[in-house]
């Protein structure tokens, strides 16, 4: 048993919490699900290995020496993985600054908080490494099986990347904290994380679409075209994955040195930053004085005004929504390439607007419908449930309208047909996404917005299918293709199917 308050003691504490969190996630806290969860885990591992087998055996195996093509493929994979790791790490480090949890207990105890924070920074690195293994490990294992055990060195390279990503993330968030202050850092770091996470993937997808007309399989071939010098230091991480001793040692050394340096510098300061973040997030924000100015008119108006005020004042939620929109760009670009290569930007914008409207409406509808912070106030008010839902729907749709109406109007100048299709598409996509949120409503706090996609995967899936389906229909309609009816009918059928198995249908039937 390690001494209380020591590094090992804190590490054991963190490991126990992490293990219990993971177990709860797998079993939802039910002991009788442990067997099923274990079976599910094994099935997932086997499935992923199967996917890796198919992917690696059907393409080049990278069995030979580290030639330019092989290095380009691996370098591309690593760059993609690093941007995802850095994005995740930035988010986790930000969360560590702002989460209250047990920090007040730790910070008010006589234990050395710097040790806890040292462990927590290391734990973030371990988390990032573990997360990367979910997708990387099957490919590494299969590659080692197909092309030789030297590929197991990829595990060490992944660990080095994770350590370096966390070190970078701590420095980024620390710098934002110093420059912007506690209040703005939370918002800005969210955006930074989103941009980092999306930038490389989206950039690569755009390049792949331009070069090959698709955003999937040949994306790394884009890297080949960059024609990096095989001796370039930029390819050292790729060489490390191939098991070359010097690059591997360099990467591991760099990762460890960066992580230890960051722990040494930031762990003693982390407590102060956390306290600053806590006191800032608790500090009241002033709004413009309006003491004598009440607008009360009808319950519906009060509800709509409340929703709009809350939406406009929550940058965290807005940044999450913006992030969703960011990821839509390549898909919309591909749609444009597929249907209108050679046509104007107006046609490109129609499916983008439709898809974005669906996504935005889904997020806003979740906030308005499920993310209610004072459900008991609403429930005890003399307003029937249907009126509440109607007012909230209006709030969402007007919100979507405010964002998209100017864009559709601008589009009308370039192409009236594209504008007309966009308008119809925005309305049906927003309406569909809002309806899905109503069917799958589950009471939650607004601050749980980031977890909304976990609470109902079916709703999330249906929302994405609906937005993409309507965008596809819109793209075809702008092209004048009567086949636009096909995706439209498919989306309607999908919505009918989703409704039939939704909790709202079950409630209505009972």
């Amino acid at each position: 048993m390690s001494a209380s308050g020591s590094l090992a003691w804190f590490a054991a504490h963190e490991a126990r919490l992490a293990w219990r969190d993971w177990r709860w996630l797998m079993t939802r806290g039910r002991k009788d699900r442990a067997g099923a969860a274990a079976l599910g885990f094994v099935a997932f591992v086997l499935f992923m290995h199967g996917v890796a087998c198919m992917a690696l055996s059907s393409s080049f195996r990278l069995a030979g020496p580290a030639d330019a093509k092989a290095l380009a493929v691996v370098a591309g994979s690593l760059a993609l993985a690093f941007s995802a790791m850095l994005s995740q790490a930035t988010e986790l480090v930000t969360r560590a600054f702002y989460a209250r949890g047990d920090l007040e207990l730790i910070l008010t105890s006589p234990a050395a908080a710097a040790r806890l924070f040292a462990v927590r920074i290391a734990a973030i690195a371990a988390t990032i490494f573990s997360m990367s293994l979910v997708f990387a490990a099957p490919f590494i294992n299969v590659q080692a099986w197909l092309a030789g055990p030297q590929w197991l060195c990829a595990y060490l390279a992944a660990a080095a990347l994770a350590m370096f990503a966390v070190a970078c993330a701590v420095v980024i968030v620390g710098a934002l904290f110093a420059v912007l202050g506690a209040r703005r850092t939370r918002f800005v770091s969210q955006i930074v994380a989103a941009v980092i996470g999306a930038a490389f993937a989206i950039g690569l997808q755009f390049a792949a679409i331009i070069s090959f007309g698709t955003m999937d399989a040949p994306r790394f071939a884009v890297l080949e075209r960059l024609a990096l010098d095989p001796d370039s230091a930029l390819l050292w991480p790729a060489r490390a994955v191939f098991g070359e001793p010097a690059p591997l040692a360099f990467m591991l050394g760099l990762g460890l040195a960066a992580l230890f340096a960051v722990i040494g510098v930031y762990a003693p300061r982390f407590g102060g930053l956390v306290l600053t973040a806590g006191s800032q997030s608790n500090a009241s924000k002033k709004s413009s004085p309006r003491q004598a100015d009440l607008h009360s008119a009808s319950p519906a108006q009060a509800l709509r005004r409340k929703e709009w005020s809350l939406l406009l004042r929550d940058p965290w939620l807005m940044s999450q929504t913006l992030m969703q929109l960011l990821y839509l760009l390549p898909a919309a670009f591909l749609l444009w390439r597929s249907f209108f290569s050679g046509s104007g930007v107006a046609n490109f914008l129609a499916p983008v607007l439709i898809m974005a409207a669906g996504q935005l409406a889904g997020g806003l509808a979740w906030l308005a419908v499920s993310g209610e912070d004072a459900p008991e106030l609403i429930a005890t008010a003399p307003v029937d449930a249907a009126s509440v839902l109607r007012a909230k729907t209006e709030a969402v749709l007007v919100g979507v309208g405010v964002v998209f109406a100017p864009l559709v109007l601008m589009l009308a100048v370039a192409s009236p047909l594209a504008a007309l299709v966009s308008l119809a598409g925005v309305v049906v996509a927003a309406g569909s996404a809002t309806a899905i949120q109503f069917w799958f409503r589950a009471q939650a706090k607004r601050c749980h917005f980031r977890r909304r996609q976990i609470s109902s995967r079916l709703a999330t899936f249906a929302e994405a299918l609906s937005s993409n389906g309507w965008a596809c229909a819109g793209a075809m309609a702008v092209a004048g293709a009567w086949l636009a009816v096909v995706p439209s009918v498919m989306v309607v059928a999908m919505l009918a199917g989703v409704w039939s198995i939704s909790p709202a249908k079950a409630t209505a039937s009972s």
């Binding site: 709004s287 009440l294 008119a297």
Partner: protein, 254 residues
């Protein structure tokens, strides 16, 4: 607006109310609270107090029984009953991104209160509860006491005839408690009815016109403090002793 029967002498009348979760939480409860009375509902943990009040306010559907608020059937005409009631829970639910004035504006809107009257009332309430200096600050940084006082202001802004409070003094400091007590007393003097659960027996002893004691989902005693003392066979005893004696008697009888 729903017509409230002027002849209705009862603020709340509950008959045969029952609600089970995995076991009975409220078990055939009968309870009457006269209009204009300050009524405290006491009971050990799990007695069914909060479940009862949540059914009265429409937050839970009873399995059986009836609830009448100033003569309005709260199960048949829930909107009519809600119009004359207010609910304050032990955990005030506010919107962190709204200011107190905006919150009161929202509540006034939900109850369709005239804007001019609501504005004046909101200002008075905030001033009364010591929240005027914070009227234009967002609620996110408010202390527990400030949040509880604002929730109370929200309950009062539409001038309900029946105020129902669940453990309103939990976590409040002495000054905030005093303000809340004063506000509630003033409301009763103005003709309002107040029903409140509390574990702070001293508050019940000082404030309540009548006290009800619940255990295992039933009302085991009901009356003025001296009546309860008599029933417990503890003349001159404190409410705490009386309460413990009544609960012990019920346990022995079971």
């Amino acid at each position: 607006m729903h017509e409230i029967s002027p002849a209705s002498a009862l603020a709340l009348k509950i008959c045969g109310l029952a609600k089970s979760f995995e076991r009975p939480a409220v078990d055939g409860l009968d309870l009457s609270v006269p209009a204009g009375e300050f009524y405290c509902l006491l009971g050990p943990n799990g007695a069914g107090k909060t479940t009862t009040l949540r059914m009265v306010t429409g937050l839970l559907k009873p399995d059986r029984g009836s609830i009448s608020v100033y003569g309005v059937d709260a199960l048949e005409d829930s909107i009519g009953a809600k119009r004359i009631m207010a609910w304050v829970s032990d955990e005030p639910m506010l919107y962190d991104q709204l200011t107190p004035m905006e919150y009161l504006d929202f509540v006034a809107g939900l109850w369709a209160v005239d804007a001019t009257a609501a504005a004046a009332r909101a200002k008075d309430l905030l001033s009364w509860l010591g929240l005027s200096p914070y009227a234009d600050e967002r609620c996110g940084g408010f202390s527990k006491g400030m949040r509880q006082k604002l929730a109370l202001a929200g309950a009062l802004v539409h001038e309900p005839k029946l105020i129902i409070l669940d453990e309103p003094f939990t976590g409040l400091d002495a000054a905030s408690s005093r303000i809340v007590k004063d506000v509630l007393r003033e409301r009763v003097r103005a003709g309002c009815s107040v029903i409140m659960t509390t574990h702070i027996l001293e508050v019940a002893e000082r404030m309540a016109d009548r006290i009800g004691v619940m255990a295992k989902g039933r009302l085991i005693a009901d009356g003025r403090l001296d009546e309860l003392r008599l029933r417990a066979g503890a003349s001159g005893a404190s409410l705490e002793d009386t309460f413990l004696a009544l609960v012990a008697q019920d346990r022995e009888a079971a």
